[in-house]
């Protein structure tokens, strides 16, 4: 069930009340059952895939620990490699078979070969997320960073905890398991904070993302009908859409967990206010970027290597990140482009610093930061073209027509939706700007009467916007395709 569905609106309160009514010793079973039900609401039989992952990784970790304790290093390595290969194999089969088919047919067409059709495989929802979460645990046990979990139910719950099961945040075993085992309390503060996050996440998804999607889809599904500012509008709309879609989901997930007195990791930290690409990747999809940093970039050597090797490490990490995001070469290019940005930013930094010094902009930190934010935003927005475009020829078209005369026609989108887009982005910007001020944040959540009144009115306002302005054609979250 989607978070923005009536089923979840009924499911969630039932789970909360049931969870806190039960004695502590039964809660984990109830939560696990609820999580299974949540996952099965998409495609019921795919719970078997999740079960296989759970069994493989639980058994694998137990085997690794056992062999390590017995001093049988090779057997431990074999267990580790086997478990990882099974995980990766399942990911490749379900997610990348289509890409393989397209690649074969692409070259086959040029060689006049008969087209190949692989069996159609439906992508299990969230496979990339729970596979990575599970592999992270395996790696941590293998490296000795975490102790093995010897209770299958506990481990299953860690993997299948429903708020973050299908689209993250990708949790670490150390952070989540301890919390799942602890006793939880239903407090007014948790309900308030969690509810607030869920409401805001819903606003970002159904009001901002789904409305801007109409403009982005109009452009990217018919690129030939747009040029110049028309393409710019499409790119901007998708840039905001993907942020709100994904961070909205994360907010709902984190908020739902918060109501249950569980703190999931922060996944987005207003990334478009970043003044450089490295900063952007510290604030965007934090759970995934830290996963790649800890399990790919650092094992490759991180930045404690020569400069060419460091460049290589960055590009490989981002290329893999691109592949993780999508089974298409446009995603690989997207990843590589971000890697190139990171590499170039290191070399450009001294030149940038010199420039700011000469122009004295360096003495105006706010202006410097503003310029940095503007440049970073544009650069990141351009990478989203690879992410969203349907084909490489569309990408080529966009970049060759970005600075030509303007062709655009959004007249088929109603005036209402134009107004909603403007209102939605204005509200989003206002709130995200306000959250940059710690003072304002503190005042907003304080117990003062004035802030309580403002809170209630703002919740009512957001709820009103969600119901009246939200787009309800059941658009699923963009990151569900991963």
């Amino acid at each position: 069930m989607l978070f923005n569905s009536i089923e979840f609106l009924i499911f969630f309160p039932i789970v909360i009340i049931g969870y806190f009514l039960l004695p502590q010793k039964f809660r984990k079973y109830f939560l696990l059952a609820a999580s299974c039900y949540f996952y099965m609401s998409f495609i019921p039989k795919y719970i078997l895939i999740l079960l296989v992952t759970t069994v493989v990784d639980f058994t694998g970790a137990v085997a690794i620990d056992y062999f390590n304790n017995k001093g049988k290093k090779k057997a431990a390595i074999a267990s580790f490699v086997t478990a990882v290969l099974i995980n990766v194999g399942m990911l490749v089969f379900f997610k990348y078979l289509g890409m393989l088919e397209d690649t074969i047919n692409f070259f086959g067409k040029k060689l006049d070969m008969r087209t190949v059709v692989f069996p159609e495989v439906v992508l299990p929802i969230g496979i990339s997320f729970h596979t990575f979460q599970s592999m992270g645990y395996l790696i941590d046990v293998y490296t000795g960073k975490e102790k093995v979990c010897k209770n299958f139910i506990d481990f299953a719950l860690f993997l299948m905890f429903f708020p973050q099961l299908v689209a993250g945040p990708i949790e670490r075993y150390g952070n989540l398991m301890g919390q799942l085992k602890a006793e939880h309390h239903l407090t007014y503060d948790n309900i308030s904070a969690g509810g607030r996050m869920m409401l805001w996440g819903m606003f970002k998804k159904v009001v901002v993302a789904d409305n801007l999607a109409m403009f982005a889809d109009a452009v990217f599904d018919n690129v030939g009908n747009y040029s110049g500012w028309g393409l710019v509008v499409g790119i901007l709309c998708f840039t905001i859409q993907i942020y709100c879609d994904f961070s909205g989901y994360s907010d709902i997930a984190i908020g739902a967990a918060r109501v249950m007195d569980i703190r999931l990791m922060k996944n987005f930290d207003t990334p478009y206010f970043s003044a450089s690409t490295p900063e952007f990747w510290r604030r965007w999809h934090i759970s995934l970027s830290t996963w790649f940093k800890d399990y790919i970039y650092i094992p490759l050597g991180g930045n404690r290597v020569s400069t060419p090797r460091w460049c290589f490490n960055q590009l490989v990490t981002f290329a893999v990140s691109g592949i993780w995001h999508g089974a298409s070469f446009t995603f690989v290019i997207w990843g590589l482009l971000n890697g190139i940005y990171i590499v170039v930013s290191r070399f450009v930094k001294p030149i940038k610093d010199k420039f700011y010094e000469i122009t004295r902009i360096g003495k105006l930190p706010h202006l410097r930061r503003f310029i940095g934010i503007a440049i970073t935003f544009v650069m990141i927005a351009l990478t989203w073209v690879f992410f969203r475009a349907n084909t490489f020829s569309d990408v080529f078209y966009v970049f060759t027509h970005l600075f030509t005369s303007t062709t655009m026609d959004f007249s088929h989108i109603t005036l209402f939706r134009h107004c909603v887009a403007v209102i939605a982005v204005a509200v989003l910007l206002a709130v995200d700007l306000m959250t940059q001020s710690e003072k304002l944040k503190e005042w907003y959540v304080s117990a003062k009467m004035s802030s309580q009144v403002v809170r209630l009115l703002s919740y009512a306002f957001i709820l009103f916007l969600i119901v009246v302005l939200g787009a309800y054609d059941n658009k699923s979250f963009i990151y569900f395709q991963f």
Binding site: E120, H185, A460, F461, V468
Partner: protein, 449 residues
């Protein structure tokens, strides 16, 4: 339990306050929207009343000259009513559905040859070019995006209820993927829900009926008050039955609930509603340039309206809608796709049901498969599905014009004829409509001999 007792009541109370604060403006806006929609429909209903009055006058015509004049008056009123309708509903999502349902209920063209099928038909076949070649028939394209055989089974129920004359010929645009209801998604409630095309037309017709009943009651005709009241109740019961849908799941329930909340189902109209209340505007027709037809000193002129370019949310060019056809222009570079269809048994069963119905009606059926850009797609299961269609055609003695196999031509080879591998562009629809017109003419001429 202590946790729940301590925290939940406070949280629920605050939640309730938030909901009330949010619902209050919604409630006010809902009342405003209902009044606005009623006022808008009223404008079209007033135009419909004028048409009805013209029809009545014609029925009472005494002589040939009066009859001619009143026929011309009626034609003018029909054109004005249609224009009123177009201006009010042209910006609704996919106007062409509204235009088609308008024809179904108002019968402007009295088409004896109707076209049904999916969006491939709606965007591929232009009656204008059919009528240029075949001058003794009137065509109307009732092709609808996403329609499948089950949809048309329900659609023909509306068709009968609207009392559209049974056609002489049904050109059934059959696609090799037509039995895949995962691909072809349309359901009849998409058109019968409140404020959707069939629902709007039924309200207009109900008002016409009520007006005609009350007019009858007012005259000295032999109709008792009781009979008139029964008739009014029948209309109202039918309206209620239209709204009585099977609710199979929570989605259906929420759709049903929201379909009665005007501020939700007509949200797209909020700017117009605000303008209406701020400016105190009334719903007069906003016609663009009116082009006069041939002048006849004695008879009233039927206005012909020219409409400025307008396209809907998915690129259908609303302003070029003609007798159900609507061009769809989208950028297509001939890129390749793999398309796979799954046959569903209930769709095949519905297909047989439709064929039986056509047989009962005694109307001719012709299968046509709209040409596709063959190089742009790998159609999985096309051969088997075409064989099934051929089998059905053979069973009912129906000719099958398949423009993707034995009748494929240079039209299939030129990607500029297409907006994607399956949908024809404006250019393609002209080429194909002309081609089909010639083939149909040859076929019918052959039948006549």
């Amino acid at each position: 339990m202590t946790d729940i007792k301590k925290s939940l009541p406070k949280a629920l109370l605050k939640g309730l306050i938030v909901i009330l604060l949010a619902v209050l403006p919604m409630f006010i806006m809902n009342i405003a929207m209902e009044n606005f929609l009623d006022a808008e429909l009223e404008a079209v209903q007033i135009a419909a009343e004028k048409t009805l009055a013209a029809k009545k006058a014609l029925e009472e015509a005494q002589d040939q000259y009066e009859r001619e004049r009143l026929e011309a008056e009626l034609a003018v009123k029909k054109a004005e009513q249609y224009e009123e309708f177009y201006q009010k509903y042209k910006r609704r999502d996919s106007y062409h559905y509204y235009g088609q349902f308008y024809e179904m209920y108002e019968n402007m063209y009295n088409a004896d040859t109707i076209i049904i099928g999916t969006s491939h038909a709606a965007h591929g076949l232009n009656p204008l070019y059919l009528e240029e070649e075949i001058t003794d028939r009137s065509f109307y394209n009732f092709g609808l995006n996403g329609s499948n055989p089950s949809y048309y089974v329900d659609w023909f129920k509306l068709f009968e209820k609207a009392e559209y004359p049974r056609p002489k010929t049904v050109i059934f645009c059959v696609d090799w993927f037509m039995f895949d209801s995962g691909w072809l998604w349309r359901r009849i409630d998409f058109d019968t829900n409140p404020d959707c095309p069939a629902n709007i037309m039924e309200k207009i017709k109900a008002r016409e009926y009520l007006d005609s009943v009350s007019a009858t009651v007012d005259t000295d005709e032999d109709t008792s008050d009781e009979t008139a009241q029964d008739q009014i109740e029948v209309v109202q019961t039918e309206q209620a039955e239209n709204e009585d849908k099977k609710i199979k799941n929570l989605d259906d329930l929420t759709t049903e609930i929201f379909s009665h909340v005007a501020i939700i189902y007509s949200r797209d109209r909020i700017p117009e509603m605000i303008k209406y209340y701020l400016t105190g505007a009334s719903f007069t027709t906003e016609t663009e340039e009116v082009v006069q037809t041939e002048k006849n000193e004695e008879l009233p002129e039927v206005p012909v309206y020219e409409h400025e370019y307008l396209a809907d949310s998915i690129g259908n060019i609303t302003s070029e809608f003609y007798k159900g056809f609507i061009p769809w222009e989208a950028y297509y570079d001939g890129s390749f796709s793999v398309a796979q269809a799954t046959n569903y048994d209930d769709q095949i069963a519905s297909m047989y049901k439709l064929m039986e119905m056509f047989e009962d009606w005694g109307c001719e059926v012709i299968f046509v498969q709209i040409p596709e850009y063959i190089k742009g797609r790998r159609a999985v299961h096309e051969k088997e599905n075409d064989e099934l269609l051929s089998k059905i055609a053979e069973k009912y003695g129906v000719p099958f014009f398949n423009y993707n196999t034995d009748l494929a031509s240079e039209i299939n080879d030129d990607y500029t004829n297409y907006s994607d591998w399956g949908h024809m562009s404006r250019k393609g629809s002209i080429a194909f409509s002309q081609r089909l017109a010639q083939d149909l003419k040859a076929y019918w001429d052959g039948q006549a001999e």
